[in-house]
Amino acid sequence: MSGRVGIVLVSHSAAVATAVAELARGLSGGGDTAPIVPAGGTPDGGLGTSADLIVRAAEAADGGVGVAVLVDLGSAVLTVKALLAEGDELPEGARLVDAPFVEGAVAALVTATAGGDLDQVVAAASEAYAYRKD
């Protein structure tokens, strides 16, 4: 398959996940970006993480060449790790990315949109940690 790497944004808040996806799309020039799918909050609209929403978002983002999963904190990290450990819950080639949520999402989407492979997307997102703000 010749799809682009997909990106999933897992936040405790649906508003945060959706807004970060919009921000990343905007900063990637909008238009025809790689898939970026928010999975925020619980299915009933509350704060928290939902394994079911994450699994669905990963399926939607999957173009057959890998999915980079960015997470915010606590149970978002643990839920994705637990799903990956199950082996059959997330698409083949799904990877949890150790990256800052907002900066990582932008770097990942720019790289995936430009046709980078999963390793390059993961590297770009992780490198966002190195950018100091002081």
């Binding site: 619980t42 509350g46 928290g48 993480t49 939902s50 394994a51 079911d52 606590g74 149970s75 643990l78 839920t79 790790k81 637990a82 799903l83 450990a85 199950e86």
Partner: protein, 202 residues
């Protein structure tokens, strides 16, 4: 003389007992969690275990391993807080370690639980003494090698022993020294789970 063994119905009864205990103690768990966490532990676990009970009633799995694996998957998908993937991993890994045996001994369960507790420790990056569910689960898994009752006592003692500890994992760790003096909600719910096991076995 060979050890007594326990079948799928025993494990369903355990989880039903655990669901009832979580339901009964949900307010206390939430109260503990409101002191050092985000005040959702009781409600989250109640929702998770209610889903577990409903799933096990609808399609009762045939082996102890399958009962626990199915229950674990339900917890991961319905709890919504960190306790979901942690308890989900605990039950799933225990289930997987038990394999497809139609009946298992207490010794086999103790070994499987020990493996699963190690997986939980790895998932959350926590150790004994970090003021987490592991403070109840690690001694309980070890004591289960002796008896169900010993496991219950070890889990309860472990949960009580979290009071003077400073939290080093999870949201409570942000509180630093202010987490001292409060019993850990995760260790408390773990003790409920092990007590429910001892009750069905009695």
């Amino acid at each position: 003389m060979s050890e007594p063994t326990y079948d799928a119905a025993f494990f369903r009864a355990w989880l039903e007992g655990a669901a009832a205990a979580v339901d009964r103690e949900a307010d206390r768990l939430t109260e503990l969690d409101s002191a050092i966490g985000d005040a959702d532990h009781g409600a989250n676990l109640k929702r998770g275990f209610a889903a577990v009970t409903a799933t096990l009633e609808k399609e009762p799995p045939a082996t102890p391993g399958a009962v626990l694996a199915t229950a674990g998957r339900q917890l991961i998908s319905t709890v919504g807080g960190a306790s979901g993937p942690l308890y989900g991993t605990l039950l799933r890994r225990t289930g997987k370690a038990l394999g497809e045996a139609p009946e298992v001994s207490r010794t086999a369960l103790a070994e499987a639980l020990t493996t699963a507790v190690a997986a939980v420790s790895q998932l959350g990056g926590a150790q004994l003494g970090d003021k987490t569910m592991l403070d109840a689960l690690v001694p309980a898994a070890e004591a289960l090698g002796t008896s169900f009752e010993a496991a219950r006592e070890a889990a309860e003692a472990g949960a009580l022993a979290t009071v003077p500890l400073q939290a080093r994992k999870g949201r409570a760790s942000y509180l630093g020294e202010r987490s001292i003096g409060h019993q850990d909600p995760g260790a408390t719910s773990s003790a409920l789970l092990i007590a429910a096991l001892a009750e069905v076995a009695a």
